[in-house]
């Protein structure tokens, strides 16, 4: 009896101990299998990059998948003091005085309808701007806009299959050109705009292509045709009722709204032939005068997302106030256009008959918003009201085969390369609008929530749950092997007008009140480290980081000022600082660089106004004691 009892106590103790050791536990069930699918060993890399839009934080967040690890933030429409984005002269000029943007839809550049890893475009919805990020260095390199005549751009940028164009359509309609008007004259005076922005094939530079005057509806989302439908871009709209107040009621009356199909080659040709009117600096085509550039076809119930399937044969629209995805046939659409089978015309835009273009209606569930695809012929539609993802067969019998819950209120979803000609079918990420109780409570401002879901089996499987900062809308997931970012800027390729590459070129030049400081930064000093200027001078610090080692960025921060920037290895950046007051102002390396980082500093000696100063100063050659 005694021995039996002893063993029992010991066995319980041992079992309890076993449970305290998760890594070695022999039990664990399904969650352990899920955990193994997202676990990336220390020192190893994820297999996918994910680019999540930052919404009204104006940035892009970079994540690794399947680990769901946050890697970095790419500042785009919002200043970022840590790296000096919006603080140094070049990025300040690019931001054009704006300090926020509403970044919604990242769009990776494509070749042949597949991601090519060159650039990432993203819209600033509120400012009607589009930014291009170069994926060679993950830096914002161009902000195009504000695009003339556009009142916010939500259906944007959605690149074409060979990145010929990105698009922007007005979310709000306003008078075009904008002028003093009564809001009550909405139907008569207000117009929407769809803009096609050209992308240079060599370096991705964006320039104005064309604009099309559209009926005063709320242009909502877009997708470019691919394969057989390449050459067309499709835009959804709501508020075809043309309501101008109480939209939640008045814009939800009609059974049908529309998709606009734009033949962007025909639109560009019309502009090139001089058929456009210049309005606000943009060539604007009026469909009442120029035919063959845009068509409408009816879509039930205030559609939101429009997504073209990988084959390019089907156009899938989600009527957010009905429980179905409406699938339209490109083939039927093309035939109806060719046969000029129009039921009416709205402000010069021909309208096709719904019956002539509809292919199928898929009963996915409540509040369908967006659709992505896999490599096995299935589509995945986010359901906002049901807070679920529905998996359905693209093609007969068009049936729903699986559903999974999202926590909570899913908006967009992002499948791995899921909007291309060749989705990889590995994962989908649910981008949820509410996180509620999913993470440690940080007060009333909740993070957003996202979930990684495995698509490789017959059933969708929830693998991982992670919070995101405000507020991812759409996102893109690309195979990591497609990107080959640089790690340093080669010094020999630095063509900055104020770069110095030799220590002997470090100097201070003065012309009137403008002082140019040609400074180098290298572990662990700035040269020059004493800068003499006069009160009232405009001082431009051109700092070149001479390092060529991975991950050795230097910072340049001036105390008592708003001046701070990070300079990457091999890079030159310019910072303007006004010498407001005579006295001494220290500056220092603000980005930890080495053991003697604290010693990496200097002084600006501001002398009283009018003190004689040489037009050219060179730092004295100094030896260590």
């Amino acid at each position: 009896m005694k021995r039996w009892f002893t063993f029992a106590v010991a066995a319980v103790a041992l079992a309890w101990l076993g449970m305290q050791v998760p890594g070695c536990a022999t039990t664990g069930g399904g969650w352990r299998a899920a955990a193994e699918k997202v676990y990336v060993k220390p020192g190893e890399h994820d297999t996918y990059y994910g680019f999540l839009s930052g919404g009204h934080s104006g940035n892009i967040f970079v994540y690794g998948f399947p680990s769901c690890r946050y890697i970095t933030t790419i500042p785009v429409f919002t200043p970022e003091p840590a790296v000096g984005y919006g603080y140094d002269e070049a990025s300040k000029e690019m931001l054009g005085g704006r300090t926020w943007g509403d970044a919604h839809h990242p769009g990776l550049s494509e070749t042949g309808g597949n991601y090519d890893g060159r650039w990432l475009f993203i819209n600033d919805m509120v400012g009607a701007r589009i930014a291009r990020i170069d994926l060679k260095d993950f830096k914002t390199r161009q902000i195009f806009g504000p695009i003339p005549n556009l009142s916010a751009a939500h259906a944007c940028p959605f690149p074409t299959p060979n990145t010929e164009y990105v698009f922007a359509a007005s979310r709000f309609s306003v008078p075009v050109p904008n002028r003093p008007t009564k809001v009550e004259d909405y139907a008569k005076e207000f117009r929407g705009i769809i803009a096609g922005i050209k992308v240079a094939p060599t370096d991705g530079t964006m320039s104005m292509g064309f604009e099309i005057l559209m009926p005063p509806f709320a242009w909502d989302l877009a997708d470019a045709g691919k394969g057989p439908s390449a050459g067309w871009t499709f835009f959804t709209c709501y508020n075809s009722e043309a309501a101008f107040d109480s939209l939640e009621i008045k814009a939800s009356q009609a059974e049908m709204d529309y998709i606009a199909a734009v033949d962007w080659r025909a639109a560009q040709k019309a502009v090139d032939e001089g058929k456009a009117d210049m309005i606000g600096g943009a060539p604007v085509l009026d469909p009442a005068k120029v035919k063959g550039i845009v068509y409408l076809f009816p879509v039930p119930k205030s559609p939101h997302g429009v997504d073209v399937d990988p084959s390019g044969k089907y156009i899938c629209a989600s009527g957010k106030l009905q429980a179905e995805v409406s699938v339209f046939s490109y083939e039927k659409f093309a035939a109806a256009v060719a046969g000029a089978k129009f039921e009416s015309e709205i402000q010069g835009v021909p309208v096709l008959r719904y019956e002539d273009v509809i292919e199928a209606k898929v009963p996915v569930g409540l509040g369908p918003l967006h659709t992505q695809f896999d490599d096995k012929g299935y589509a995945y539609t986010s359901l906002f009201l049901d807070s679920q993802i529905a998996k359905w067969k693209v093609g007969p019998p068009w049936d729903v085969v699986d559903k999974i819950d999202a926590y909570y209120s899913i908006g967009h979803l992002m499948a791995s390369e899921g909007d291309t000609r060749n989705p990889t079918g590995d994962y989908v990420v649910a981008l949820n609008k509410l996180s509620k109780d999913r993470y440690l409570n940080v007060g009333p401002t909740h993070p957003e929530a996202a979930q990684l879901i495995d698509l490789r089996g017959p059933k969708m499987e929830l693998l991982y749950d992670f919070p995101t900062y405000l507020e991812p809308h759409y996102a893109q997931m690309i195979k990591a092997e497609k990107l080959k970012p640089i790690t340093v800027y080669p010094l020999e390729e630095n063509t900055h007008a104020h770069a110095i590459k030799r220590a002997e070129d470090a100097r201070i030049e003065r012309k009137g009140n403008r002082v140019d400081v040609y400074m180098l930064a290298v572990r662990t000093h700035f040269t020059p480290d004493i800068v003499r200027v006069n009160e009232g001078d405009d001082v431009y610090f051109h700092v070149t980081n001479l390092e060529q080692d991975d991950d050795i960025a230097h910072g340049f921060g001036i105390i008592w000022s708003n001046c701070n920037m990070q300079i990457e290895p091999g890079e030159t950046k310019t910072m303007h600082w006004k010498a407001e007051k005579a006295g001494i102002t220290p500056f220092y390396c603000s980005n930890f660089c080495s053991a003697l980082h604290q010693e990496m500093q200097g002084f600006i000696e501001v002398n009283p106004r009018g003190t004689p100063v040489a037009a050219l100063q060179r730092p004295e050659a100094k030896s260590a004691p």
Binding site: K2, F5, T6, F7, V9, A10, A13, L14, L17, G18, V21, G23, C24, G43, V488, P490, L491, E492, K501, R502, A503, E504, L520, V522, R523, T524, H525, T527, L546, E547, Q548, D549, I552, S594, A595, L596, A621, K622, S623, A624
Partner: protein
């Protein structure tokens, strides 16, 4: 001790044994780190310094190639070297006057091309890192460019009439 005490004591002893056994198992479970650790190879093969790259004749023992030295001089100022080095005075890094007479060709090449590994593995480079509180930056020179810079060092040192010094 009463009977119950005996039972509890026995159970505790048995549990303790189990804990020990478990701890031994766990050590295997956690896994020891593999690779990536610095090798303090102070006794590695080589000269008296312990550096496997610094044995044999000094770089400056052979005559400098003038054409290569000229290219090397230009690289020395355009690749960022002059930000920290001079010949005749110490700046951030060591004074490079006489460096070709102090070090072998191999050691200099390794130090220019892969200073991070040298700082981890080579006793001379480690000692210099300790002295300067800084690992020499890698400036991305090609192997050919490194050779040209070394020819420049040799040319300078030979012009100055310096002679090879024995390895420490």
């Amino acid at each position: 001790m009463n009977r119950l005490d005996h039972v509890v004591a026995g159970a505790l002893a048995c549990t303790l044994a189990c804990v020990l056994a478990l701890a031994v198992t766990l050590a295997g479970c956690g896994g020891a780190p593999s690779g990536g650790t610095a090798k303090l190879s102070s006794n590695a093969a080589g000269g008296r310094s312990g550096s496997k790259y610094d044995s044999g004749p000094r770089a400056g023992a052979t005559e400098a190639d003038d054409e290569m030295a000229e290219k090397g001089e230009s690289l020395f100022s355009t690749k960022g070297c002059t930000a920290c080095h001079a010949q005749g005075r110490r700046l951030t890094g060591p004074d490079l006057a006489g460096v070709s007479m102090r070090r072998t060709q191999t050691w200099l090449e390794h130090q220019i091309l892969d200073p991070a590994t040298m700082a981890q593995e080579d006793p001379i480079a480690r000692e210099m890192m300790a002295t300067h509180a800084l690992q020499m930056p890698k400036q991305g020179l090609t192997p050919d460019e490194a050779k040209e810079v070394i020819e420049f060092f040799k040319h300078h040192d030979q012009e100055a009439g310096l002679a090879p010094v024995a390895a420490k």
